[in-house]
């Protein structure tokens, strides 16, 4: 089948479905009709899409952790703990890295070793191996909206199983779960496979079951300028909507400069609304997710609380619909449930203290919104052009051409020509714009911002600046100044 941004027919979808369900023995337990009935009985308070819509209406910012362990009971325990002790509004199920690579044999080994060791040796929950019945035990034991969070280039079987089991939200996308998470999987393939996932969600929607979808906003989590992640988020939103998805959350990972971060969320909302409507997906409900700083964290827990709090504060001031919360253990390892709950409570306190405070639309903020929008438009328009009016095709060609480019990405399909660095106020700019299709004005803007910082630091803009910025937050600063 040729890659196009075009809604799959039922035949096209069904032609592949059997093959997907045969990828691992647990696939055979997926029964779509039964799953639809199952979903019909999921109450609103456990329904991800509905909870988000309510939050958006009320101007709330909901909290959500990351969490997943190898074994079912342990995982149930963990989620309930995070709800009770962490006061989490939304709950995740983070999938382990073997599942993400479709290495279900390794998962089995991890499950077995975890059983033996009495602690999780997997970095997440291997949902495919646990199968529909196993996953439903989780769904039925946790009284909160549940989402699958992963990083899986081919997430078709995982999607079939977890959604059939009653999950009401599914993270990922053909670009955002490839470029940061894979090395040599082609974009054609992942975009195609994610059309499958979106089409599946669309099918549920056709049967009256609304499932929330969330492209992965932060990408590599490391100094990704807003326009890059926005362009990808909006493309993935469009690709999803075309397949019939009706409830989409677009994401952005905190950069650290307050004005830039608030501008990013506002720009994302405005641009997404505009592009989705323009392309005929105006019936899709959009919400936003703000990720607390996704790059390297300080090892010291007290300092980590500072980073977590700043993310919480920014999320609240930006009025994102939800915030993904880090923990004081971030730099060292998967957090204990206690540490995870602490990150959540710190965040909750901050959000509650800030929820009644609006950040005024200042000229600085408006300028930043304008810059982000202008850049994002440059990219999106060029992608559309490269694809001759097709964002799916355009995305593949854009990555080849470096029109889309993600800093520090492991994928060989990302050109890796751009280099981000912070400006003198800590906003993430481009030290090297690579092949991004920016107007000369925008290129000059970035150059000037870098020159301003270089001058303040008495050194020429250089790769060392990039390195210094990568370490900066983990060493207690935002901008990586020379010592």
């Amino acid at each position: 089948m040729e890659l196009k941004n075009k809604k799959w027919t039922h035949d096209e979808f069904n032609a592949i479905r059997q093959e997907v369900l045969n990828q691992w023995p647990t696939g055979k337990d997926v029964n779509f009709e039964e799953a639809v009935k199952y979903h019909e009985n999921i109450p609103a308070k456990r329904h991800f899409a509905k909870r988000l819509v309510k939050a958006k209406k009320n101007g709330e910012t909901l909290t959500q952790p990351r969490a997943g362990v190898a074994l079912i009971d342990e995982h149930i325990n963990l989620l309930n703990f995070l709800k009770k002790e962490g006061e989490a509004d939304l709950l995740p199920t983070t999938i382990d890295s073997y599942t993400r690579q479709n290495q279900y044999e390794s998962c089995q080994k991890g499950i077995d070793e975890s059983l033996k060791a009495g602690r999780s040796l997997l970095n997440g929950f291997p949902a495919v191996n646990h199968g529909v019945a196993g996953v439903r035990r989780v769904v039925e034991s946790v009284d909160a909206p549940l989402q699958v969070r992963h990083g899986t280039p081919d997430a078709r079987l995982l999607g079939e199983i977890t959604i059939a089991a009653g999950y009401t939200s599914y993270e990922g996308g053909g670009i955002s779960y490839n470029i940061p998470y894979a090395k040599s999987v082609s974009l054609e393939k992942t975009i195609f496979d994610w059309q499958y996932c979106d089409r599946m969600v669309g099918l549920y929607a056709e049967h009256g079951i609304e499932i929330n979808r969330e492209p992965f906003g932060p990408l590599t989590g490391t100094l990704v300028p807003p326009s890059i992640s926005h362009a990808i988020a909006i493309i993935e939103g469009i690709l999803a909507a075309e397949q019939g998805v009706k409830n989409i959350t677009l994401g952005y990972g905190q950069c650290g400069n307050l004005i830039q971060d608030i501008a990013a969320i506002r720009a994302l909302e405005q641009l997404a609304e505009e592009f989705m409507t323009k392309h005929g997906y105006g019936d899709c409900v959009l919400t936003t997710v703000f990720h607390q700083w996704m790059g390297g964290f300080p090892q010291d827990e007290a300092k980590a609380f500072g980073v977590i709090s700043w993310g919480a504060a920014t999320a609240a001031l930006a009025k994102a619909t939800k915030v993904i919360v880090k923990t004081p253990h971030e730099a060292l390892g998967i957090p204990t449930k206690e540490a995870n709950a602490m990150g959540l409570r710190t965040t909750k306190q901050m959000i509650n203290m800030l929820k009644d405070q609006a950040f005024p639309l200042t000229s600085e903020l408006q300028t930043e919104i304008n810059i982000i929008k202008a850049e994002t438009r440059c990219i999106l328009d060029k992608v559309f052009e490269l694809g001759n009016g097709d964002y799916a095709v355009g995305s593949v060609r854009a990555f080849e051409a470096g029109v889309l480019d993600v800093p520090f990405a492991p994928s060989k399909f990302s050109l890796n020509k751009i280099l981000p660095a912070r400006d003198n106020n800590g906003a993430v700019r481009l030290f090297e714009v690579g092949n991004l299709p920016f107007t000369p004005d925008l290129v000059t803007f970035h150059k000037e911002k870098m020159a301003e910082r270089a001058k303040a630091e008495g050194r020429a803009p250089s790769f060392q600046m990039v390195i210094d910025d990568i370490y900066a937050i983990s060493k207690g600063h935002l901008v990586g100044r020379p010592r």
Binding site: Q101, Q103, S106, G110, N123, I334, T336, P410, F463
Partner: protein, 136 residues
């Protein structure tokens, strides 16, 4: 062809953490070594093959994502079987799942046959200093 000392670098298993890899690559190369960087998602055999092909003096294995314990086991044996039993094996990153006492982790990985084990957040300078000592 250079006569620089060669080292193989990569992130093992199903791990895709790329940032540290890129920085290590940059720093070790700048320190005068030739780095054969396999990037992320590298299976054990690829490390061994690359080392044999390039006659590398060390393999630098990174594991960030928590499965290091499972992924790194057996690499020493594989080297032995392939006839490069004396190659130096370094390992670093966030080797186990969860925040753990590093002494325990170090003991575990030394026991698996690694020559040097690095704690989370180790800076490139530290490993380069060790390479200077080990790879003469």
């Amino acid at each position: 062809m250079t006569n620089k000392v060669k080292v193989v670098l990569g992130v093992i298993g199903a791990d895709c953490h790329a940032v540290g890899n890129k920085i290590l690559n940059h720093a070790i190369a700048a320190a005068g070594y030739e780095v054969i960087n396999l990037g992320v998602l590298v299976p054990q055999e690829e490390f061994v093959n690359a080392a044999i092909e390039t006659d590398a003096k060390a393999i630098l294995v990174a594991s960030l994502y928590g499965h290091g314990e499972i992924d790194c086991r057996g690499l020493r044996d594989r080297c032995r079987e392939a006839g490069i039993e004396d190659i130096k094996l370094y390992v670093g990153g966030n080797l186990v799942v969860g925040k753990t006492d590093f002494d325990e982790v170090e003991k575990k990985f030394l026991g698996m046959g690694y020559n040097r084990v690095y704690e989370p957040g180790t800076l490139p300078d530290v490993v380069i200093a060790d390479m200077k000592e080990d790879l003469k």
